[in-house]
């Protein structure tokens, strides 16, 4: 099980995967908006998205869990 975390503070602009979806390493799962930039967050693991912990528009801090991959 791998937790994908935000690498910087910002708001969740887009979620590009769905719960239950199979994804591969390096695939973008969430795009944050921070410092007026789009910050793609890629998965560090291949597997199934078992949980999305955030919704679009949420504020997240550095280190907050965005999704869990198994």
């Amino acid at each position: 099980m791998t937790e994908i975390k935000a690498n910087m503070a910002g708001s969740v602009w887009k979620i590009t995967v769905k719960e239950g979806e199979r994804i591969s390493t390096g695939q973008d799962i969430v795009i944050l908006e921070s410092m007026k930039m789009e910050i793609p967050i890629a998965s560090e693991a291949s597997g199934q998205v078992i949980k999305l912990s955030v919704s679009e528009g949420d504020f997240v801090n550095e280190g907050d869990v965005l999704a869990t991959i198994e």
């Binding site: 690498n7 910087m8 503070a9 410092m35 007026k36 930039m37 789009e38 910050i39 793609p40 801090n61």
Partner: protein, 508 residues
């Protein structure tokens, strides 16, 4: 001593420690110290002194360290290399004296000093002779600090560098660590458990992967000793032997071919990410990039490269990671790299695409102002040829940190897509018209914001900034390489002294 005794003794010393320690090392894919040196040097060590150190004692061949002089890429370099088959590479009195002497030799000859570290630390039984005194281990670090910026100093970390020994890599220009075997720590996990009650593995606390990606104490993570040695040879090819000389040029090579041009690579939309490696690849001689701290603070990219055969040091924002925003670690990474280039006459190239320094509680508490100031100071002080190219945007103090016009770059170039401002249009309009936006109706808002953003964009238009001579030239993206080659050649005669004083006082 007859000839037979001499030959026997030499053979014995050359073999290092007991066979069982050689076996333990080879199980961990560790090479014997003399094999490492053969791979590192063009031939081998040409001169070795104090080979017989401690030969009157049993089981301490060369006192656990090889010190000598040889050639790497034809350049003379001094080396010290721990032998971990001899009392785990620990330092006795003669070990320390040998290291100090080879450093003194490097200083006299003005040649690079290499440290091949694989040592358990001080030999406690010898502590009075090797630890506290004038020529105790402290002198090794004192010498390193004195050599810093005079000659290149590189550490290849093949095993532990424990406690005080961890300062050898700390004072080197670059530290290459072998994954799985190399480690740096002040107190071992066993000590941490006893003294502060923390339970942790060596790899978590002081392993190579951690140091190369989290602490920033390591610069390059190598998969094997061979890879580490190949990297060290490559790294040295970008350097002169001392601060008085310039790095040697090699025959020019065309950049690698890509499917698209620079203008096609850069997104129209300022906020969209792109991969800065792809831009770097289109500018530099093929296969010439030698990256430093690739895994640490990847929102800024630092590395050596060649432009028509000549060495440059590149500092580039990476829009693909954290938007290319500067953080405490990225500022720190850039500061050291800039100092390294400036020390050894390596011209600097700043590729700028930066939304600014990160804001928020977390980074303020981490001292982002202090770390950012470090980067500004290093960049400002650098007197080598210094070119700043604004690729897309340079906002706020990001412009300053990336060698903005006020910091005496030899020129500030901009691509037609560039924007330079205190902040981007969205942020600026929100800041300036916050009250007005709140007052007007929701239907009117989008049109109002758009209009103000357009006005703002016109105000910071790159042609306007060129007209005001803020920037020195606007360059077509696909002609950037040619422009850089031409300018670095012209600027190569640059010779300036930053200022006269003992030394600056910066937020280190």
């Amino acid at each position: 001593m007859d000839n037979n005794t001499y030959t026997n003794l030499v053979d014995k010393i050359k073999k290092g420690g007991a066979e069982k320690y050689h076996k333990i090392n080879s199980k961990k894919n560790k090479l014997f110290v003399r094999e490492r040196l053969e791979k590192l040097f063009d031939e081998s060590v040409d001169i070795e002194d104090a080979f017989f150190a401690n030969c009157m004692s049993e089981g301490l061949p060369a006192d656990g360290v090889v010190t000598g002089i040889g050639k790497v890429n034809g350049m003379t370099v001094c080396v010290m290399a721990n032998d971990s088959t001899v009392k785990a590479g620990s330092w006795g009195a003669r070990t320390v004296e040998k290291i100090i002497r080879i450093q003194e030799t490097a200083a006299k000859l003005n040649v690079p000093m290499l440290y091949l570290v694989d040592s358990a630390g001080a030999r406690i039984t010898d502590q009075v002779e090797m630890f506290p005194g004038r020529r105790g281990a402290g002198r090794i670090f004192h010498n390193q600090i004195k050599l810093s910026g005079r000659v290149p100093q590189v550490c290849l970390l093949f095993g532990p560098s424990a406690a005080g020994g961890a300062y050898i890599p700390a004072f080197c220009d670059a530290v290459i660590m072998v994954d799985g075997n190399a480690s740096m720590y002040l107190g071992s996990p066993r000590m941490a458990e006893k003294v502060i009650g923390e339970k942790v593995t060596l790899e978590e606390m002081g392993g190579a992967a951690m140091h190369c990606s989290v602490s920033g104490c390591g610069d390059v993570l190598a998969e094997s000793e061979e890879e580490a040695i190949v990297f060290a040879r490559k790294y040295l090819s970008y350097f002169p032997d001392n601060f008085k000389k310039k790095p040697a040029a090699i025959p020019p090579v065309h950049p690698a071919s890509f499917g698209s041009s620079i203008s096609e690579l850069i997104p129209d939309h300022q906020n969209a990410p792109f991969d800065i490696y792809e831009l770097i690849g289109r500018l530099i001689d093929e296969n010439s990039f030698c990256e430093i701290k690739k895994l640490f603070a990847p929102e800024i990219v630092t590395g050596f490269a060649r432009l028509e055969g000549n060495v440059v040091g590149i500092i580039a924002n990476q829009p693909k990671v954290k938007g290319g925003v500067l953080f405490p670690d990225s500022a720190d990474k850039a500061a050291k790299f800039i100092q390294l280039c400036d020390a050894f006459n390596i011209p600097l190239l700043f590729l700028v695409d930066i939304p600014g320094f990160m804001i928020g509680t977390k980074v303020e508490r981490a001292g982002i102002i202090r770390h950012g100031a470090k980067m500004l100071a290093a960049m400002s002080e650098a007197t080598v040829p210094k070119i700043s190219v604004v690729i897309r945007k340079a906002y706020g103090a990001g412009l300053y940190a990336m060698a903005g016009p006020a910091f005496e770059p030899d020129c500030t170039l901009a691509l037609p897509s560039a924007q330079i401002a205190v902040m981007g249009p969205e942020a600026a309009v929100n800041a300036v018209y916050a009250n007005k936006i709140a007052e007007i109706s929701e239907e009117e808002r989008p049109a109002f914001i758009k209009q103000k953003q357009e006005e703002y964009k016109a105000d910071i238009d790159i042609y306007r900034l060129a007209s005001e001579m803020v920037i020195d030239a606007i360059i077509e993206p696909d002609k950037l390489r040619g422009e850089l080659v031409k300018r670095y050649e012209i600027y190569s005669n640059k010779s300036v002294t930053f200022t006269e004083r003992k030394h600056g006082v910066y937020p280190v």
